[in-house]
Symmetry: C2
Subunit: 106 residues, 2 copies
């Protein structure tokens, strides 16, 4: 399992995190990653109908913002939410966003 | 005073609001607009060192996302935060973001 590069917790900043959450597909992917840690990229994207190249770009933006860790596991890419890093660095940020996103999709 | 077009409250969605907040300059402009309602665009941008054309674009993104109302007042453009619309449509969203942005800038 080869980890892909990611920013350390202490260098995470608010703007890229909000940018990563500011697209409906990425916001749904982040919500799914939080709900199902250690999923593969393709499992998280199931049913969203997004082309693979677009998906790779979305996951890169999420990884570079510090929301997720990714590892290459054979032919799969596994996604782990950086839940602890996010809650320590940006306490109280994600819960209201997830709640509002869920209400919007309901 | 001529109002510029803006989306009605019931059509506001989360993704454009997060996008409007996902740039450090826009986030600072939104914080200032909340702190000083009825300011002019140029007063809000004071000291940020951002070119006018970039500023116009930032204010347009904030207005189209529903964060602010703008009126043309002679040669000035006045900015009013849509604080009530935001808190009714997205309760609990802005406070943690403002708090984290303030901590990051401290």
């Amino acid at each position: 399992m080869r980890p892909l590069p990611e920013p350390p917790r202490e260098s995470l900043t608010l703007a890229p995190v909000l940018h990563a959450l500011s697209d409906p597909v990425r916001l749904e992917l982040v919500r799914r990653a939080w709900a199902s840690p250690e999923s593969t990229c393709s499992a998280l994207a199931d049913g969203l109908g997004v082309p693979l190249s677009t998906l790779s770009n979305h996951f890169r933006i999420m990884r570079e913002a510090g929301l997720i860790s990714m590892t290459v596991d054979g032919r799969n890419r596994r996604v782990r939410p950086r839940a602890r890093d996010l809650s320590e660095r940006f306490p109280g940020l994600l819960d209201p966003i997830f709640r509002l996103a869920a209400a919007e999709n309901a």
